[in-house]
Every structure is written in C-alpha cells, then in structure tokens.
Symmetry: C2
Subunit: 223 residues, 2 copies
Amino acid sequence: MENLTNERLRRVQNNLVEMTGLVQVAMSCATEALLSADVHLAEQIISDDTQINEINNSIEENCLEILESQNLTPTDIRMTVASLRMSTTLERMGDLAAHVAKQARLRFPHVSVPEDLAETFAQMGDIANSIVSQTGKVIATGDLSHAVDMTKEDSEMDQIHRQLFTLVLDPDWKHGVESAIDVTLLSRYYERFADHGVTIARRVAFVVTGEAYGVSDLQGDDK
Amino acid sequence: MENLTNERLRRVQNNLVEMTGLVQVAMSCATEALLSADVHLAEQIISDDTQINEINNSIEENCLEILESQNLTPTDIRMTVASLRMSTTLERMGDLAAHVAKQARLRFPHVSVPEDLAETFAQMGDIANSIVSQTGKVIATGDLSHAVDMTKEDSEMDQIHRQLFTLVLDPDWKHGVESAIDVTLLSRYYERFADHGVTIARRVAFVVTGEAYGVSDLQGDDK
C-alpha cells in the first residue's frame, strides 16, 4: 500500500515538473510574442493553456485518489495537499502567461509596449524564466539550493515593477493613457508570475523542512 | 471517529462562514473608505486583514488534522479539500479588499476615483457585497438556491469592468494617466473579488452535487 502511495506521489511530482516546464515555455513565448507582436505565437500560447489546465485537473484527481487511500503517513498527506496547491498556483501562472499573450494579440499589429521599454520587458521575461526554471528544479529534487537566486531575482522583479509605475505616472510620459495601462497590467502579470514561483518554492520548503514560512529568504507575497 | 470528523468539518464550515462575513465587511468598508477618502477606515481594513489570514491558517491546520484521521469517507475527503481551497480563495478576497483600502490610503486626502465615477464604484461595491453575502449563505447551508442572483450579478460586474476600460481609454478622458491607472486597477480588484465569490459557490456545488463544473450557471473564471 505504501509503495502504491509513493508511486502515485512520484507521478504527481512528475506532473508538477511537466507543468512547470509548460508554464516556463508559455511565459517565455508570451514575452517573445509581446515584443515582436507575433499574433500567431500569441494565439498558440492562449490555446495551449488548456493543456496546462488539463494537467492541473489530472493532478487534482490523482491527489484526491491518494487522500482516499489508507495508511497514509502525515508526511504523505502534507505532500499531497502541498502538491494540490502547487498545481493550482502553476495553473494560475499559465493564466498569467496567457494574459500577456492576449495583450500582445489585442494590440496586433502594433507592439503593446513602447519601444523604449522593450528591453525592460525582455528583462522581466528573463527573470520570470529564471525563477520558474528554479521552481521546477526545486520541485523535481526537493533541494532548495536550486533556489539561491530566487529571492534576489524576485526583488529585482518587484523593483522593475515599481519603477514602471513611477515611469507611467511621470508627467513626461509620452505614450498616452492606453499604453500606460498596458504597461501597468503587463508589469503586474510578470510580478505576480514571479511571486507565484517563489510561493511554490516556499511550499516545497515547508514540506521538506516542516517549518511553516520558516525559510525567510523564500517568502513571497502569495496574493 | 466519524462523529469527531463531522464535528471538525462543522468547525471548519463555521470558520469559513465567519471568514466570509469578515471579507464582506472588509470590502464594504473598503468601498466606503475609497469613496470618502477615509484614511482611518482604510488603515483599519488593512490591519484587520491579518485576522482573515489567521482564520485561513487555522482552517488549514484543522483540515490537515482531519485528513490525518482514520476512516474518512471519500465525501469527507472531498469536503475537506474543497474547504482548504475555499479558505485560500477567501483569504485572497480579503487581500483584494485590502488592495482597495491601500488605494484609498495612497491618494488621501484626495478621493482615488473621479467624482463622476463614484456611483459606478458604489455599484461595484454593492454587487461585491451581494455576491459575497450569497457565497456565505451557500457555504452555511450547502443550498445553491441562495446563489440565484450570483450569475447575473457577476455578469453585471464584468460589464462595468469592461465599460470602465473603454471609458479610461476614450480620447475624452479628462482625468489623466494616474487616475486611469487607479480606475483600471480598482476595477480589476472588484471584478476578481466577485469572480472568486462565484468560484467558491461553484466548489460548494461540486461537493454537493458531485459534478465537476456541472453547474454551468455558476461558472466563474478562477484566475
């Protein structure tokens, strides 16, 4: 019985790693679609989001099956509940990538962000990519040493997010209201995405160390 | 054993109802603080959010305890997992109320929304209030007939959200970039809040009817 649980938990873990990979590709392609006004790529990301949602549903079902089995240890239960939540968070990260892609599609054939901010959004895309890549490694290994850059990068993301806010509110902002709103919403999508990645690593930390929110340098905002 | 589980599940359910009440008060007061630039009320909502977070933590612990007990029925397990998720969603609704309050505080002593939109935001506040009130009744009774107005109201909220988008992007918009961004973000907070309320009712529907997403007129967006 215990072996079956372990096997099922490993399957869930593999699904989570797979989901993380898909989310990473989605956000990476969304950034590309955004900066090159590639409407076909944007469409593809939006439609591929269903794949991420399906894995989420399958993880949910598998986790409920695990919880319905007998002789679970408290650790099994905490791992299963944590997996359920990670899956929900990854699904939301997929949605955020799709939001970026929808923004790219909305302004096609124009690029949704002003040219002088293209590099900033490329940077946000890079940070998002690096964070979700670390998240995947942490899920796959349970080893938090893969997340050493995460806190620094999440702070960088927050800083860019705040800078963009200041920028669009500057009296010298030349790109109009529509662009200011686009930039604000996009910036929020990237910031949330990074934050969710950190939240997942924190959940793994909780399961591995048994300490709730004890890994102070892995604290996200979780909103 | 079964009685203890029932008792624990009832306690969790009571906590969820309590949380729903606090979230309702928070959003209602946040709207008031927003429209009257009441910084003291705003501060209070922001600090009271910790209370909502604490109930969330306590529900989490209670649900894990339930899952660790023996002889659970599949229904017990599904109810417990659904409760965990409802609690997370309610916690997020509390955060959204706090976001509105923070916006009110940020622009103090000015009112954060232009005068000609005050009524629109009052209306969003009313809809949010009505939806979360129905959510609470559905959680307390498991009776979906309390949610009859929910779908209609959620659609109204979406419609106002879209109208506000159009409005701030209109060339005739006279209130500047800062105000356009404030209105966009605030509108999103209300729209998300309503959507989360619908998501919770949908979860109750799932537990009660056993049909995933079967209650098509209770479909939210869950993002």
